[in-house]
Amino acid sequence: MLRSPPVKKILVVEDDPINQMILADFLTANGYETVAASSGPEGIERFDSDAPNLCLVDVQLPRKNGFELVREIKSRPTGPRTPVLLMSAVYSDRDQTSRTIQLGTLADGYLSKPFDLVHLLAQVRQLLDET
């Protein structure tokens, strides 16, 4: 009997409830299991307890921003194996490229809000080696 592959788990750390809902619903509809967190500390807590396969992290978060969160995630034993996708509405696509490179050194990918969900899905699949 063929066993179906395990469902990949994605941690969505986003403080805006609507955006959190959109991301969670969209990823769930595309066959992923999602875990949501609304702040930096909660994101770390969820990361430790749920061991997600990928993290989707907003930059501006209450109590602990996205950069700090990425740093903490990467410092965990499973951190280096877990891709992190940063997203932010602060830096638009019109900003200078160095900004993105700077962000890219911290995380495995970066999306500038508002982004197309199709692109999000493509990035997620790429990072999870599903392409």
Binding site: D16, I18, N19, I22, L23, D25, F26, A29, Q60, S88, A89, V90, Y91, S92, D93, R94, D95, Q96, T97, R99, T100, I101, G104, D108, G109, Y110, L111, S112, K113, P114, F115, D116, L117, V118, H119, A122, Q123, Q126, L127, T131
Partner: protein
Amino acid sequence: VTTSAGSSFGGSGRSTATLRAVRDPTVRVGSIRQAIEFITDLAQPAHRPKLWMGIWSGFGVAFALGILAAAASYFELTPWTWAYVALVGAKIATNSLAWLALMGNRWVIQTQALNTIADVIILTGAIYFTGGPYSPLLPAYVIVICVLSLLSNTGVTLLMAGFIVACFAAMIPLMATGILGPTPVPGAPGTQPSWGYTLTAIAYCALVVGVPAWFSAATLRLLRDKEVDLERRTAQLIQTATQRSQFVASMTHELRTPIHGVQGLADVIAAGVYGPVTDKQKEACASIKRSAQSLLSLVDDLLALTRAEATGRRRHRRPRRARVGIGVVGGRHQAPRARARCRAQAAAGAVGRALARARAGESVGERDQVHARGRPGQRARFRAPRARCRDTRRRGHRHRYRGRGPRRDLRAVPPEREGRHARLRRRRPRARARCASDGPPRRRGRARLRGRRGVDVPRDRPDDMARAHDDTAVAAAAPADAPTGLASISHRRLGLTPRL
């Protein structure tokens, strides 16, 4: 025995007259007009404190020199003469006149000029009555010049220096020809100084050294105070700028996040995540998304303007190295800057896609709306070995290259990237004429907005955009709504192939 270097004009070291003289080459140095400007410059209200300082120090120096004259007579260093009284009296009179004028705020410049000229004449007289060319008072001229340079401006100082030399040069020939009789030198030069001479000489030395030192110290203190004030203001400005930057960043986030929500919800609904969707509902979702994108464009413009104002940078700059040339998107009546931006935007998108298609082994043809033509080297670089490029020029397109970089220009523009006015120009000559008559300023903003809706280009660096596409083979194979700008770079870094 009287001189009052202190009763000089007040003024700053680098006056507005000096600045005007530097900026305006037609004003010749030394001209009467400029000299008048230097003098009248001292009438500025900002110079009043220095004028007051000159008045009070003038009284002080006149008093001190009067005492010196009395001491010299008392110790029999020089015979008493009423000329000393006359000279000190004249000095006090002119100084009082200047003081009264300053009090009443009338005839200020005139009385100050009289007072300063009187200083030099009286001092020359004192020098004559104390031995002429052998007078120990000769260094007192230095006091005058030193104080004038500290309290007035360059022009006045130079004028008075010339006047001093003229006065001295007038006195000596008169003495040499016998018109002015010889006068005794105080003390007995060449002999052992008496105690009276010693005391008087020490007091005189203190005066000659002390007055310039006091003025120098006062000026330095004033400068230091200004420096401290400047540092404080700079710190305030830095703090304000930081707060403003933080505010802009915060506003960016707060304004873009809800738009992201609107757009995302439209996407999710259209994708059928919340249930089946009819075609009409899909169209509505697409409209919502388009409106959100328009709003986002406006918000970005507004924030960019705020940021540019905060940093003091020019908002519109032509690309420094436009690596790509392209047919004009929005029409000839656009402002040059907007035109350059549209050109770069369209080029970035079209070149990137065509390049990648060529590298992928596909032919580059009419559907790409591009045509590669350039110098040797660039041409080969653009065209893939198996690529087949064709000129897709069409009537109605404008073709020009204005970049300063390598000419890898793509000559035509996809119709959907054309501006409204380009379409108008092709179809409706009268409408085009109407648009053209509107003039460039109002077109800039619209053209900019219109251009940005299609391909998003970093404001100041459209060439980065082009480079991003140029280097990315995969990005070009992406559909028309593939990520552009920073998002495309992110894709490239991740080696991602976006799919619909």
